[in-house]
C-alpha cells in the first residue's frame, strides 16, 4: 500500500515535471506557431537567477516565485523585440534564429559563470510514508504544475487579455480589423511564455544541477510534449504530459532514466504517425 502510494507520487512528479518544462513552450507554440529552440536556455537562466540571488541572501521562495519569472520574462520581451518580431511569417527562420540565440546564451553564460555545476539545497526536508521517505519539495512541484495549468486556463478563458489573445491566435487579420494590436499581443504572449519558463527553471533549480548546458537535458522532452500535445495549450500539455510522463516513468522504474527518455520518444513517434496534428488535433480539438 505504501509502495503503491510512492509509485503514484513518483508518476505524478514525472507528469508535473513535463508540464513545468513544456508549459511556456506550449504557450509560445500554441499562440504563435514559433518553436523556441532557446527554450532550454530560458530554463537555465531561470535556474541561474535563483542560484545567484539566493547567494546574495534573497529568500529562496522570493527568488523562485518572483525573481526568476520576472528576469526571464523581461529577457523574453527583449528577445522578441530584437529578433522574433522580424520573423513572424518566416517560421523556419524563427527556429534557426532561436537556435542561434540558444548557442549564444550557452556560450555567454559559460564565459561569465564558468562550466561548473551550481546548486541550491532542496528546501522543506522530507516526510515518511510507511518505510519510505520522500522529499516534500516533490509535492511543491506537483502543486505548482497543477496551479500553472489552472492559471493558464483561467487566464485564457476568463480574462479580457485571454479573449484577445485567443482571437489573435484564431484569426490575426480579423482581430486587427477589430482594433487589436496583434504585435503587442504577440510580444506579451512571448513574454508570458518566457516568464513561465523562468518560473519552471527556478522551480527545478533545487533538484537539478544548474550548468550552462542544462537546457539540453530538458528541451527534448519539452519539444516532444508540445508536439505530441498539439495546438491546444492546456489540454494538449496536460494530455501529452500525462501519457508520456506516466510511460517514461514506468520504463525508468524498470530500466533506468535514459531508457525512460528513449521510450518517451518512441511512443511520441508512434503517436505522431497516428495523429500527425498531435493529440489535440483529433481529440479534444475544441478545447483550450
Amino acid at each position: 500500500m505504501d509502495f503503491a502510494l510512492i509509485v503514484l507520487i513518483e508518476l505524478l512528479r514525472a507528469v508535473a515535471g513535463l508540464v513545468l518544462i513544456a508549459a511556456g513552450l506550449a504557450i509560445i507554440f500554441g499562440m504563435m506557431r514559433v518553436i523556441n529552440i532557446a527554450h532550454g536556455e530560458f530554463l537555465m537562466l531561470g535556474g541561474y537567477t535563483v542560484v545567484l540571488t539566493t547567494k546574495l541572501g534573497v529568500n529562496l521562495w522570493v527568488a523562485i516565485l518572483v525573481l526568476a519569472p520576472l528576469f526571464v520574462g523581461v529577457f523574453g520581451v527583449i528577445v522578441e523585440r530584437c529578433i522574433i518580431q522580424f520573423l513572424y511569417n518566416r517560421l523556419l527562420d524563427s527556429i534557426l534564429a532561436t537556435w542561434g540565440l540558444s548557442l549564444l546564451i550557452i556560450g555567454a553564460v559559460t564565459v561569465v559563470f564558468g562550466n561548473t555545476v551550481e546548486g541550491v539545497a532542496t528546501p522543506l526536508g522530507g516526510f515518511a510514508i510507511g518505510d519510505y521517505k520522500m522529499a516534500s519539495y516533490t509535492l511543491v512541484l506537483i502543486f505548482a504544475a497543477a496551479l500553472i495549468l489552472a492559471a493558464i486556463f483561467a487566464g485564457l478563458k476568463y480574462t479580457r487579455f485571454g479573449l484577445i489573445a485567443r482571437s489573435t491566435m484564431q484569426n490575426p487579420g480579423m482581430a486587427e480589423a477589430l482594433g487589436v494590436n496583434s504585435k503587442l499581443v504577440y510580444m506579451a504572449t512571448f513574454g508570458i511564455g518566457a516568464a513561465l519558463t523562468g518560473l519552471a527553471g527556478g522551480l527545478l533549480a533545487p533538484i537539478a544541477g544548474v550548468v550552462p548546458s542544462m537546457g539540453v537535458y530538458f528541451i527534448g522532452q519539452a519539444f516532444i510534449t508540445v508536439v505530441t500535445g498539439g495546438s491546444a495549450i492546456v489540454a494538449g500539455t496536460l494530455s501529452a504530459s500525462t501519457m508520456l510522463g506516466t510511460l517514461s516513468q514506468s520504463v525508468t522504474f524498470m530500466s533506468g532514466p535514459v531508457f525512460g527518455d528513449a521510450a518517451l520518444l518512441l511512443v511520441a513517434l508512434i503517436l505522431l504517425r497516428l495523429l500527425p496534428q498531435g493529440i489535440t488535433g483529433r481529440i479534444f480539438s475544441r478545447s483550450l
Binding site: 516532444i224 527518455d261 505522431l272
Partner: protein, 338 residues
C-alpha cells in the same frame, strides 16, 4: 542553352576540385593537408543537408544524428572486421536504412515542416543521451566497447580499398577529395534527373505535385534517406580521419554547425555549403586562437545575423551582385539587341 551553362559551371568546379586533388599533397605541408582533409569530410557532411534542404525542401535539425551514427557504426564494424572497405559500405547502408525508417514515421505521418524539424532534433538528442550512457564494460558490440562519454579510441585508419595497406595522409586526402568530387557530381546528376526534378517540384509546391499524381511521401523518403547515407558516410570518414569518435558527434552543436554552413553558403546550391564549411571553419580556427571568445558565442551570433541579414546565403548574394555588376557593364552594348 541554359542547361549547357549549368553543366559548364559544374565542370569548372569539378576541374578546380580535381586540381586540388592532384597538387595539394605535393605543394602543402602535412599540417595543412590534414587540415584540408577535415574540411573535405565536413563538406560532405554539409552536402548531405544541402541536398535534402535545397533540393527536397526537407530541413533536418538532426543531421548530426546520421553523422554520429555513421561514425559509431564505422568504428564498431571496422574494429570487429579489422579492415575498412566493407565497413565503410555497410555504414552507408545502415545510415540509409535508419533514415528510411525514421523518414517513414515522419513522411507517411505527413508531419509538417516544424514537426519534422523537432522530431529530427529530438531523435538526435536521444541518441546523444543513449550513447553517453554506454560507459560501462557491459556496453560492447563484439570487440568494440562503446565507451560512453569517453568515446571509442583506435579506430582503424582508412585502407586502400580491397587491400590491407593503410593510407598515408596524402593518400587519404586524395581519396576523400575523390569522394567529394564523386558526391558533388553525383548529386548534380541526381538533381537534374527526373527524380531530382520531381523532388524540386515538391519543394516548390507539395500540393500541386501530389495533384499531378506523384506520391510525395515516397520521394521525400528517398531524398531524406540519401541525405542520411551521405551524412553517415561523412561520419565514418570523420571517425577514420581522427581514429576516434565520441558523443560530441551527436551533439546539438554539430547539427547547428551543419545548418549554419548550408545557410551561410546558400540553400539551393551545392558549391555554397562547401564554401561555407571552409570559410566558417577557417574563421573559427582563427578566432579560436585568440582564446577569449567562446566558440558557441561566435556560432550563435553568425546564425542569428545570417537569418536576419542574409537569409539567402553568401553564394547566391554574391552571384546576384556579380550579375547586377556585369549587367551594368554590359548595358550599353545590349540595348541595340533588345
Amino acid at each position: 542553352m541554359a542547361a549547357l551553362g549549368y553543366w559548364r559551371g559544374v565542370a569548372l568546379v569539378a576541374a578546380i576540385f580535381l586540381a586540388i586533388l592532384l597538387f595539394v599533397p605535393a605543394w602543402f605541408d602535412l599540417f595543412e593537408v590534414l587540415q584540408m582533409t577535415q574540411y573535405i569530410v565536413l563538406a560532405i557532411y554539409a552536402l548531405s543537408l544541402a541536398y535534402i534542404w535545397g533540393f527536397g525542401g526537407i530541413v533536418s535539425f538532426g543531421q548530426a544524428g546520421f553523422f554520429g551514427l555513421g561514425g559509431y557504426a564505422f568504428a564498431v564494424i571496422s574494429i570487429n572486421m579489422g579492415e575498412t572497405t566493407v565497413p565503410f559500405l555497410l555504414t552507408i547502408a545502415l545510415c540509409f536504412s535508419f533514415a528510411a525508417v525514421l523518414g517513414y514515421f515522419m513522411f507517411y505521418g505527413r508531419l509538417s515542416d516544424v514537426y519534422l524539424g523537432v522530431v529530427t532534433l529530438v531523435v538526435t538528442l536521444i541518441m546523444w543521451k543513449l550513447i553517453n550512457h554506454t560507459a560501462g564494460p557491459e556496453y560492447a558490440i563484439g570487440k568494440a566497447r562503446l565507451g560512453g562519454f569517453n568515446g571509442i579510441p583506435s579506430i582503424p585508419i582508412m585502407r586502400v580499398p580491397f587491400t590491407d595497406r593503410e593510407m598515408d595522409p596524402g593518400e587519404m586526402f586524395q581519396y576523400f577529395m575523390g569522394l567529394l568530387i564523386f558526391v558533388y557530381l553525383g548529386l548534380h546528376v541526381l538533381i537534374r534527373s527526373k527524380f531530382g526534378r520531381i523532388a524540386i517540384s515538391i519543394r516548390e509546391n507539395e500540393v500541386r505535385t501530389s495533384l499531378l499524381g506523384y506520391d510525395i511521401r515516397r520521394y521525400k523518403l528517398m531524398v531524406f534517406s540519401i541525405g542520411g547515407a551521405l551524412g553517415g558516410a561523412s561520419g565514418a570518414m570523420w571517425a577514420t580521419y581522427q581514429t576516434f569518435i565520441d558523443p560530441n558527434s551527436f551533439s546539438l552543436e554539430m547539427s547547428a554547425k551543419c545548418l549554419i554552413w548550408v545557410m551561410a553558403g546558400g540553400v539551393g546550391t551545392l558549391i555554397g555549403p562547401i564554401v561555407g564549411v571552409v570559410a566558417l571553419q577557417y574563421l573559427s580556427l582563427k578566432l579560436g586562437e585568440t582564446a577569449f571568445i567562446n566558440n558557441l558565442v561566435i556560432l550563435g551570433i553568425i546564425l542569428v545575423l545570417l537569418v536576419l541579414l542574409m537569409p539567402r546565403g553568401i553564394v547566391p548574394t554574391l552571384h546576384d551582385w556579380l550579375r547586377k555588376g556585369l549587367a551594368l557593364v554590359r548595358q550599353p552594348s545590349r540595348e541595340g539587341a533588345q
